[in-house]
Amino acid sequence: MTPSPHCIDLATATVRELNQRLHHLTADGDPGIWRVLNPAGGHAIAVGLNAPVTVEIDGHVGYYCAGMNKSASVRINGNAGVGVAENMMSGLVHVRGDASQAAGATAHGGLLVIDGNASARCGISMKGIDIVVKGSIGHMSAFMGQAGTLTVLGDAGEALGDSLYEARLFVRGSVASLGADCVEKEMRDEHRAVLHARLEAAGLAGEVDVSEFRRYGSARGLYHFHVDNVY
């Protein structure tokens, strides 16, 4: 690949320089497509983006890649460390490999697609993000999830949806166990429509049958402090 003006090689540039340049981009004008080479597991790559820029990262990233993303599309052609797309507000983050813990943690919006597996606490405290994981997810995923959807084509680990608020969980494979106050819920047409829309957004329309999924949500039993709710 030939380096373009929009190519930053982290073998020579620092993460600081990369982020500073990306932060200078604004919504007016075309922020274009940016390529990042040799991320080498670096942390905080492409964080705090605030413009509809496309960033392609060729390699593995460390913690918090695309953290607090707003408007940007970030594609990681590799694996992602802890907290990828944490607290994302809008935009798209696509991990072509696997993701570590706390993927999409506390995120308020946008779409996070993980082609591989995601580790523990995927979608922890999620607040409106849509997460689609093509592989499986680890334990305590969607812990205290408040809003948004978590769609998993593979299996879910233990204590799925523990202390869940209003986030909606769709799992195609097995669930090792449900966390406190998380229950399986009936899959009605409205839910199938929501799931279909998420799969479509993740580029999986027609590839996956929504009827193979089960839906999980909050029993809302922990919504009020009561002696019978104490764990």
Partner: protein, 443 residues
């Protein structure tokens, strides 16, 4: 023996099973739930009252009160932040959430603090436009719940405070009961209205000091290394927590003693977890000194600060500034005797009202009820707070001048003695009239 004439002992209540304890046993037996309340510890603890200043004497030269200069300004965040903040007095307003407090109370805090050139702090639940608008310097808390957390407000903040714990409940998360989850509070926190809300006790995307370092790096990257980053801990293991916060890259460490107020926590937590502020300051300062970071990383302490003497004592023990919560609420109008009839209707008395979790505050401060909240006039309450903050600064200056200091930061442990052996050991200053510091040389 004449059995009619035996003197009887007077009825005697148990010191162990006192009236409060008995009433709590009955309450627990009736409900099956622990007691939740606001405010800080209520029992007597070793505190700053147990210390005294020595003032000047033949060997020490005082400064003239009122006339000779005695500086009170503090610069926070010079270690890494491109834009450190400067406050005019060494007293800041602690983080208290919109949700626990009314919008009017938050506005009043901003007005009062800004009038005297100091900072306010958001809280669990995000930043409101009112408090940003009325606070000249606003610290934005980054809490485990991340309620309302967003990059736009992060960029609007003057500093960022990563909250790990609070003195009232080190190791505990937050709670906001359904009565206070109004439509606005619910929307800001992305929660259903009216539910009893829990805030997580741990950060969702990092564990331990090595992760914290990376988290701080991320926050700095998002904000282009402009903003000071504070790390707030409840006083539990202050030496190690301070050292680890410094190692993780903090510009400022905020240390909150067990007396510190809270909006809503279990009584058992408030009274039994954590250590008093008096015992926490010296180990934290020691950690900074051992790392060569004293005065480079600033230390802000809180938990039961009430007057300028408390401020001066904290500074003399090595803190750079203090922070106040409860006292600021009282200055706004909390627990005002003028509201005695309203407190009586709630089954309590002025001075004892601590049901800040309940949302029925007659002073309009710890409530989301629109009718109650409008009882607080943010301008007048802000002026009261500004007056009170000025008094704290003047009192601290008075003491500093008496000790011959041209800046309140020149106060030092050598200016202090203690009244009790326990305070001498905790604050590492000699028992008054002796040169005895229990445990000295053996921390």
């Amino acid at each position: 023996m004449d059995h009619t004439n035996i003197p009887r002992t007077v009825p005697r209540k148990s010191a162990t099973f006192d009236d409060y304890t008995l009433s709590e046993i009955r309450r627990a037996a009736a409900t099956g739930l622990y007691d939740i309340r606001g405010a800080g510890t209520k029992r007597k603890l070793p505190h700053l009252d147990d210390l005294l200043f020595l003032g000047a004497s033949i060997s020490r030269y005082p400064l003239e009160g009122y006339r000779e200069k005695c500086g009170t300004n503090v610069v926070l965040g010079g270690r890494f932040a491109k834009k450190p903040i400067e406050i005019r007095i060494p007293i800041t307003i602690a983080g208290m959430s919109f949700g626990s407090l009314s919008a009017q109370a938050k506005e009043a805090l901003g007005r009062g603090a800004s009038a005297v050139g100091t900072s306010t702090t958001t809280g669990d639940g995000g930043m409101t436009a009112e408090e940003r608008g009325h606070s000249s310097t606003l610290v934005y808390q980054y809490l485990p719940s991340r309620y309302g957390m967003n990059p736009d407000d992060l960029r609007k903040a003057d500093a960022i405070e990563v909250v790990i714990g609070q003195g009232a409940k080190p190791g505990g998360g937050g709670m906001l009961l359904g009565q206070k989850i109004s439509p606005r509070v619910a929307a800001m926190r992305t929660l259903p209205q009216g539910i009893d809300q829990r805030s997580a006790c741990r950060h969702p995307d990092w564990t331990g000091p090595d992760d914290l370092e990376i988290k701080i790096q991320e926050l700095r990257e998002i904000t282009d290394w402009e903003k000071p980053i504070y790390v707030k801990v409840g006083a539990a293991r202050p030496y190690y927590d301070t050292a680890l916060a410094v190692k993780a890259g903090a510009d400022v460490v905020v240390l909150d003693g067990m007396q510190g107020g809270t909006a809503a926590t279990q009584e058992v937590f408030i009274e039994h977890v954590g250590i008093p502020l008096l015992a926490a300051i010296r180990p934290a300062v020691q950690a900074l000194q051992d790392l060569g970071m004293h005065r480079k990383v600033q230390l802000i302490v809180s938990g039961g600060i009430r007057n300028g003497a408390d401020v001066a004592k904290c500074l003399a023990l090595g803190a750079d500034a203090v922070s106040i919560g409860t006292a600021a609420l009282v200055a706004l109008g909390d627990n005002d005797p003028a509201l005695a009839a309203d407190y009586a209707a709630l089954g309590t008395v002025p001075g004892a009202y601590d049901d800040w979790q309940d949302g029925r505050d007659p002073a309009g401060i710890t409530t989301q009820d629109p009718a109650l909240a409008t009882r607080l006039d943010p301008e007048k309450a802000g002026r009261r707070l500004a007056n009170y903050l000025s008094v704290l600064a003047l009192e601290a200056q008075t003491i500093a001048r008496a000790c011959g200091k041209s800046h309140v930061h020149n106060l030092e442990p050598e200016d202090l003695v203690s009244l009790t052996i326990e305070a001498a050991a905790m604050a590492r200053v000699p028992l008054a009239g002796t040169d005895w510091i229990p445990g000295a040389g053996r921390y």
